[in-house]
């Protein structure tokens, strides 16, 4: 067991943040709960970005793709349940007469869950391993992933009959007969999700504090040296990014559970960049920062747009500028001010 994993200050912060999140549904009106669920679904994505970008230095602007895989998988399952034995409504509108073959397996919940957890790895690992093997990295990798997420949006919108096109998939409310849109179900789901989020956060924290986490930092800072120390860095990078993609996919599924819809805009390039912002806002090497930032930014978006329906985006943008300018380590840098710091390098990195 790595020593860093048992650092007391981390567990104290962990307890504070999760107690706060645990108390939220108790102290706020019930219509807020699905909103909190929505904000926190992005915390999964942000956790993954902390791992792949913050520690391993891979800036993927395609996390929306994997968010989309989780979200669309679950939405397809829920939609089939809502409309069966008929075809889903949007298919009827685009005069599709038979259920597309790709939809068939989504009658099964087990298949859907496997899809959410395994499909991201099957897609991400071989593809990125090839790319990293060819030494494509840095900005070029980011541009590549950005292009892919743009392509995906176009593809989804283009195939109206199979994906619901620009309107996405919506209008479903039961999971195996359980009404997930009721207040009670939502509160229950919120606690379930919080549990899952806590487990994921602990796993990521474990990973980054193990020796493997040190290797990731080494790859981020000097990949060449790591290669000459006998590591297959392409393999490690592809595997790390795959974990990050699975987290994004779980987040996507959670998003669908709480909002009851998924659209191409939510998985596109802009959404992908926004996910990076969560991680940057929280501090890109801070696991708890990512969780907190995903919640805080989501909450701020709602609060500001309620208060200033016209100009709220300016406030949000201004806040991002302020944080990146004043706190290069994100919100996590704030707690660092009060913590006893280990001897740090003279450079500002």
């Amino acid at each position: 067991m790595p020593k860093d994993f048992f650092r007391k200050s981390w567990w104290v912060n962990f307890a504070i943040i999760f107690c706060f999140l645990l108390l939220l549904p108790v102290i706020s009106p019930s219509f807020r709960v699905p909103l909190y669920g929505k904000y926190l679904s992005f915390a999964f994505v942000a956790l993954g970005i902390v791992l792949s970008w913050g520690y391993c230095g891979i800036l993927s602007l395609g996390q929306g793709i994997f968010f989309g895989i989780g979200a669309y998988s679950l939405a397809m399952f829920l939609k089939l349940e809502a409309s069966s034995p008929e075809l889903p409504d949007f298919m009827v509108w685009s005069s599709v007469e038979q259920l597309p073959l790709a939809w068939e397996p989504f009658h099964s919940l087990a298949f859907t869950l496997i899809c959410i957890l395994v499909l991201p790895v099957l897609l991400a690992f071989p593809f990125t391993y090839m790319i990293f093997k060819k030494r494509v990295s840095g900005v070029y990798f980011s541009i590549l992933t950005l292009a892919l997420s743009l392509t995906l949006t176009v593809l989804i919108i283009g195939s109206q009959g199979g994906t619901g096109g620009a309107n996405g998939i919506t209008d479903f409310s039961t999971l195996k007969g359980w009404d997930v849109a009721s207040d009670e179900a939502r509160i229950r789901m919120y606690f379930l999700m919080l549990g899952l989020l806590a487990v994921c956060a602990v796993i990521v924290q474990y990973l980054v504090s193990s020796r493997y986490g040190k290797v990731l930092i080494a790859i981020r800072d000097r990949e060449d040296r790591v290669r000459f120390s006998g590591y297959d860095t392409a393999w490690i990078k592809a595997a790390t990014l795959s974990v990050s993609c699975v987290l994004a996919s779980i987040g996507g599924a959670m998003f669908v559970l709480f909002t009851g819809l998924i659209t191409p805009q939510l998985v596109g390039a802009v959404a992908s960049v926004e996910m990076i912002v969560y991680a940057a806002f929280g501090g890109r090497t801070s696991v708890l920062g990512a969780v907190f930032a995903a919640f805080a930014v989501g909450w701020l978006k709602s609060a500001l747009s309620e208060e200033f329906p016209q100009g709220w985006l300016f406030f949000l943008g201004g806040l991002f500028l302020l944080v990146t300018a004043v706190l290069p380590q994100g919100l996590a840098g704030l707690t660092g001010l009060f913590e006893r710091k280990p001897a740090k390098g003279s450079d500002a990195k």
Binding site: R211, A218, R222, D232, T233, A343, G345
Partner: protein, 245 residues
């Protein structure tokens, strides 16, 4: 091949576009040998090391290491066969401590599963002993980014030593060191050479003399002459191109 050399380079050619950086070089290094490679700027010394360790691909010729042909293998595979490379500018991981720098270089921990699940103090003894060998034992908890230039050089050597390589490739190991540090480095290299073969690239003639190994002089990508430092220094061709006489 003659009596099983550790490293055997046959007729190696490295060309970048039309520019020939290494021109039909053949070279062999025996077990336990210290080999110094000298030569004026642009002679191809660093390129030669790059070709040996896999940073640069050979255009022609072959490289055998411990009897295995390696010129088409990837860098990490060559490293796993027992080759360690120190770069010209010391490359250490600035954000990690000296201890962690050495720790992640331990070869036994290189599978990802072991890096995730094993206790992280299982190599403690080994790391301590390597740190003592390379004069870093009092700096283990220091952030590598704050070390002096010379200490970074030692740290990089320590990171290689912990892998127990059969062959060490050192690119200018005393650059930026004080006189005292240079002498300590000479001692360090001599101590290492008891168990490992070492190829050193260096400009500093004093340092090369103190190492008292075999010397190969490179000039414009080709080998000019080989021998002990005394033999090399009186060779008229060497005086002409290198010693500026």
């Amino acid at each position: 091949m003659s009596k099983q050399a550790l490293l055997e380079i046959n007729d190696l050619l490295v060309a970048f576009g039309g520019f020939v950086a290494i021109d039909h070089v053949s070279l062999s290094v025996l077990h336990g040998e210290i080999r110094c490679i000298i030569g004026p700027n642009g002679a191809g010394k660093t390129t030669l090391l790059d070709a040996i360790c896999g940073k640069t691909q050979a255009s022609q010729g072959s490289i055998f290491f411990a009897g295995i042909r390696i010129d088409n293998e990837s860098e990490f595979k060559r490293t796993r066969l027992g080759m360690g490379r120190k770069f010209q500018t010391p490359s250490v991981y600035d954000d990690l401590t000296v201890y962690q720098n050495i720790q992640i270089s331990v070869p036994k921990g290189q599978s990802m599963l072991s890096a995730i699940f094993n206790r992280d103090d299982q190599f403690d003894e080994e790391i301590q002993s390597v740190a003592v060998t390379s004069n870093l034992e009092h700096l283990l908890t220091t952030q590598a980014g704050t070390l002096s230039h010379g200490q970074k050089q030692w740290l990089e050597i320590a990171m290689l030593l912990v892998q127990h390589p059969k062959l060490l490739l050192l690119d200018e190991p005393v650059a930026g060191m004080s006189l005292k540090e240079r002498d300590q480095t000479v001692d360090l290299i001599k101590r290492i050479s008891a168990t490992q073969a070492i190829v050193v690239i260096e400009h500093d003639m004093d340092f090369v003399k103190k190492l008292s190994g075999n010397v190969t002089v490179l000039h414009q990508g080709a080998i000019l002459c080989e021998g002990s430092i005394e033999q090399v220094q009186i060779d008229p061709r060497v005086r002409e191109v290198y010693l500026g006489d």
